[in-house]
Symmetry: D3
Subunit: 140 residues, 6 copies
């Protein structure tokens, strides 16, 4: 049984790798690499996996999961500039892919009674990424 | 090849385990355990798996699947009080998780020519569960 | 200039007029009149009208409007049974239309610095009502 | 007859009035005034009003309207920092309300054969503003 | 008080005026004028205006309105080719604008106890038209 | 890590197998087999699988994937009649299932640096199919 909880946050970011030249950045990231930054309403879906407890009819209270997601993720990035205000993104390009990995890393050990299964992050309605932990495992 | 059919129904429910004290219920279920009940527009997605028949170009007519879902599920729960009007939920807490299991159980042997793969049930736009049958199998 | 703020709540209701016979109720309300109740995820949109203040760039802070909507409406109806827990609906049929009027009545004098313009209430994705205050005026 | 065309753009902004103290800004704008900026996927709906031409069955080609919206608005703000890259917002707080006025001003004289009726701008799914031109007129 | 009911239908159409040359058609309609036709999932919203009846709490049953919309509109156009199967569109270009007028004409005298206020028709998520009856009146 | 890119196209189609009698077609396809055709706004989601490149923070630029999807799929089917204008559907019934296979076939060798994982195609909001390549493999 899988439970998914959805959250939203609004943040600014830009795609820029300081180890590369300005030309190389522009070639790789196009308008997404505008150094002044741009922004998104991100949609985050966190999926956990567990077995139903007969007493409660669930394995984790969706409200409990919401509290964890808010505390570990939303409160840190909502109405923030990701490049400037999250340390991880000083050393990693602030792509949706790297954000999904960062979210996985922060949530992985915070959820009790069930297992983190998937982090899905929408940058826009047209683009999203999914991460299932170890990339070599290929869970799906 | 997987086909998914979406349906909606509006129902009242409450989360309450009669074997537990009122305090214990309140601690476990919070505002979701209000004994007067509350309600949702549930969204149900049923996914079946099969192999395309060259003659028809599909393995089950989406309209046939719709008829089964309406007859087995929607007609029983739409504009109903799930706790009071579905026997199964006299003995099982009416969580989204248990509803997904009940839906799986009702659909499993009703679909011909293909296999039930997944039941996905949204309680709100922010919460959904997915069930793939035997929980120990872990299909995804 | 008009500002619209959106909110959601989950509630149970039924359509039933105690002054009418059971047959008359069934004829008028069909499955919506099931006495056990059913429920919805309601979506509420509140629109206010005002003139931009040069200093702030708005006429009411959207967050202030949110706080008023939550306190006056959402906290009273979310995860509640509207028929049993809101006094107004002991004497008024709990239709979407009457709920919009009740919402208008509660919000009308609570909003400062601008004017309540419209209350829009979705019962499902397929049905909604709009109320602009005095029905005889024909505001739109 | 009214035609509405929808567009999207992703941009960073912050709410900050340089003529006010930092404390005053924080009191007025809360987390929206984070000086590092944050961002949104804005949704813009432009409505024009006209009379159907019998020959074409429309009064403006929706594609023509799209081209105007892209050239006059989307190309200027998409993947941009509104505060830093649009001159108008050096002197006006970059609220959704002021953005709607700026959009109205840019579109008003660019549309031929019909009249600009409304600019509707969503900052998130929960917040939007509507502008109909002269605020004193109160068209709706 | 306004009530809106939403419906959907899937239909093929093309934009073509037989009184014009092929070049003129192509210039006017671009890819929308492909003579082989293309198609859409149209979304139709019908808004009616009335005064609440104290006995029922509404002025028209949303289900009654649904039945009228299905009988007068959806049953005629769903899974049809609008140009070939609706007589009106042999003499009128099958634009969204003309379809809204045709829908208005068919519904206008079929609704009892309230007044047809608006027909809103979405061709895609990005394009919609609204019609309020007599275009000269300027109802909104 | 999985990246999904969403696209839309509007097309006409009908379900008809020329090797079967008209009665047999009608029995199999119902209103979807109307020989005049009907249409949809299709939504296509293409998912690719890869490993993040440290330099760029992604494994394929979402814009690159968009260009491939537009060139290989959208440009061929948008505002087209699928049955009449795509050769493949002269010999295959134009179901959503066969369309997903055709899309898979066209994309499979066009994507560099990562692997095509899934093609998901929505015919309407209520019906979609998913294809993962070889049907016997059953990846999910």
């Amino acid at each position: 049984m899988y439970l998914t909880r959805r959250a939203e946050f609004s943040a600014a970011h830009t795609l820029f790798n300081p180890e590369l030249s300005r030309d190389e950045n522009e070639r790789l990231f196009g308008k997404c690499g505008n150094p002044q930054g741009h922004g998104h309403n991100y949609v985050l879906e966190v999926t956990v996996k567990g077995t139903i407890d007969t007493k409660t009819g669930f394995f984790i209270n969706a409200e409990t999961l919401k509290v964890i997601i808010d505390r570990e993720i939303v409160d840190l990035v909502d109405h923030k500039n990701i490049n400037l205000e999250i340390d991880y993104f000083r050393e990693h390009v602030a792509t949706c892919e790297n954000m999904a990995k960062w979210i996985w890393g922060r949530l992985q050990n915070k959820i009790e009674g069930c297992t983190l299964h998937r982090v899905k992050l929408f940058e826009t309605a047209n683009n999203c990424v999914e991460y299932f932990g170890d990339e070599n495992e290929g869970p799906r």
